[in-house]
Amino acid sequence: MTTQFEHNLENLKSKLLLMGQLASDSVQGAIKALLEGDSVLALAVRAKDEEIDELENELSEEVTSCLSTHAPVASDLRLLVSIIKISHEIERIGDEAKAIARRSRKTATPDFHRIPKMGEIAREMIQDALSIFVEYDEDKAKAIWTCDLEVDQLHKENNQFCQSLVEKDPTTTSSVFEVLFISKSLERVCDHAVNISKETVFMATSRDVRHAPEFKKSALRKELD
C-alpha cells in the first residue's frame, strides 16, 4: 500500500520533471526564435518562464511541508533536499532561456557561429540530467560533465569569432555583443545541467561531488587529454 507520504514524494518528482521539461522546451524555443527571428515564439518563451517560477514556488512550499510534517531521513531526505536544489537550477535555466528569447529580438546577425550547436548540446544535457533523476546512471552523469567541456570550447570559439567580426567591422559591435551574451547564457544553461546531474549523484548515493577535485573541469580535461 502506498502511504500518503510516498504519494507526496511521487507528486513532487513529477512536478520537478514537468518543470525540467518546460525549461528544456524553453531553451529549444529560445534558440529557434533566435535562428528564425520568430518574435511570437520569443514571447511564448518569456511567458513560459513564469510557469517555471510558479512551479519552483510550489515545489519549495510542498517540500518544506513534507520536511516539517514527516521529518524524513535517508533516501527520502536526500530526495527532498535534491528537489529543492534541482528546482533552483531549473529555474535558472528558465531565466537564461528567457534572456536568450529577449535578446533574439535585438540580434540582427546572419551568422550565429557555434550557437545552434551549443543549443543542441544544452538541450541534450538537460534531458540527460532529468533522465538520471528518474533512473540513476553514474556513467551518464559523467558524460554530462564531459559534454560541458565541449560547450566551454564552443563558447570560446564564439568569443574568438565575435572578436574577429568586431575587428573587421566595428559597426556590428552591438549585435555581436548580443551573440556573445547568448553564447554565455547557453554556457550557463549547461553549467546548470551539470549541477543537476551532480545533485542526482548526491540523491542516489549521498556522495557530494559538487566540489570533488576529481570532477572539476581541469581534472576532467586532463583525463580527456
Binding site: F5, P72, V73, A74, S75, D76, L77, S206
Partner: protein
C-alpha cells in the same frame, strides 16, 4: 563468530593518526535469553569513551534488554541469563563472579523511561547514593549535591527549595533530578532507557541539551524510539531488529545513507 561493529566515533584526522581508542564497553558474541526465549542473538559491538551511542529499533528488538545487560539490571528478572558471549567494561567482564554488582551500578548508572525520584526532598534524592556509600561529611555531600544538580542543569531551578519534596517538581525536572542522582555517585557510563518518552518538547529539549553537555565527561548509551532525537544527540547509532544488531555506524551516515535496506525501511517509518 560475528565480527564486532567497531566503527569508531568521529575524530579529528590528527586524532585518527594516534593510537586507536580502547572501547569503554566491549560486547562480544552475546546471546541473551529470558527462560527459553532468546532475545539477543550474537551481538558484538564496541562503545567508545565519551560518545553518545543510540540504540534504535522496533519494540521487542532487544535494545532495552541489551542496555540492561550493561549494568546487570537483568539479574533482577527471573530466568534471565546470558547464553554465550561477554560484556566487558574497561576490560572487565561484568558477568564475572568477582564483580560487585553494587560497584558496577555505581560505575554504570541508569536513567529510566519514567522519572522515579524517591519520596524524599530534592536534596535527599541526590545525597542518598553518597550517604549509602558512607560519605558522612555534610560539607562533602552538600558540595556533591550542588555539583550534580549543576551538571544536570537543575541547580538554578531548585537551589532555593532543596528541602521540598521531589514530587513537587515537573516531569522534566524530575527526570533531570534522576540524572543528578545518577551523577552524584560519579559514574563513568550513563545508560538511558527512553529518557524523554514521558516529557513534553520543552523538557525533552532540556534533557537533550544536558546529554550533549554530559558527553564531554561520560559515555552515554540511550535507547530511544524517537528517530529525530537519535539524530540530534548521538554520535553513533545501532539499529536492532529481532534481537540482532543489523547496523551500527555514525549517526550522520545512518540517517543520511544507511548501508542496510532494513535500517532505511525502519528509520523511514516503513515498518516497526
Amino acid at each position: 563468530m560475528q565480527e564486532a561493529i567497531t566503527t569508531s566515533p568521529e575524530r579529528s584526522p590528527s586524532t585518527d593518526e594516534v593510537d586507536p581508542i580502547d572501547p569503554a564497553i566491549r560486547i562480544r558474541d552475546l546471546d541473551f535469553l529470558y527462560g527459553s526465549n532468546q532475545v539477543i542473538h550474537n551481538v558484538s559491538l564496541d562503545i567508545f569513551p565519551k560518545e553518545v551511542m543510540a540504540f534504535i529499533g522496533p519494540s521487542g528488538c532487544g535494545k532495552s534488554t541489551l542496555l540492561r545487560c550493561l549494568n546487570r539490571m537483568n539479574d533482577l528478572v527471573d530466568g534471565a541469563r546470558i547464553g554465550k558471549g561477554s560484556i566487558e567494561i574497561h576490560g572487565v567482564d561484568v558477568h564475572d563472579k568477582s564483580v560487585d554488582v553494587i560497584e558496577l551500578r555505581k560505575k554504570v548508572g541508569m536513567v529510566f523511561q519514567k522519572s522515579n525520584p524517591f519520596p524524599k526532598s530534592i536534596y535527599q534524592n541526590v545525597a542518598y547514593g553518597l550517604q549509602i556509600q558512607g560519605v558522612k561529611s555534610k560539607r562533602v555531600v552538600d558540595q556533591k549535591v550542588e555539583e550534580s544538580l549543576r551538571k544536570a542543569a537543575l541547580w538554578e531551578e531548585v537551589k532555593d527549595r532543596l528541602n521540598e519534596n521531589a514530587y513537587g517538581l515537573s516531569g522534566g525536572q524530575q527526570q533531570r533530578l534522576c540524572i543528578a542522582r545518577t551523577l552524584a555517585v560519579e559514574p563513568e557510563i550513563i545508560l538511558m532507557d527512553e529518557p524523554c518518552s514521558a516529557l513534553d518538547p520543552v523538557a525533552t529539549g532540556r534533557v537533550e541539551e544536558l546529554i550533549l553537555e554530559l558527553k564531554h565527561e561520560y559515555t552515554i548509551v540511550v535507547v530511544t524510539h524517537n528517530m529525530q532525537q537519535a539524530g540530534r544527540i548521538s554520535d553513533r547509532t545501532a539499529f536492532f531488529y529481532l534481537g540482532k544488531l543489523i547496523e551500527c555506524d555514525r549517526t550522520k551516515k545512518i540517517f543520511l545513507n544507511p548501508s542496510k535496506q532494513q535500517t532505511e525501511d525502519y528509520i523511514s517509518g516503513k515498518f516497526g
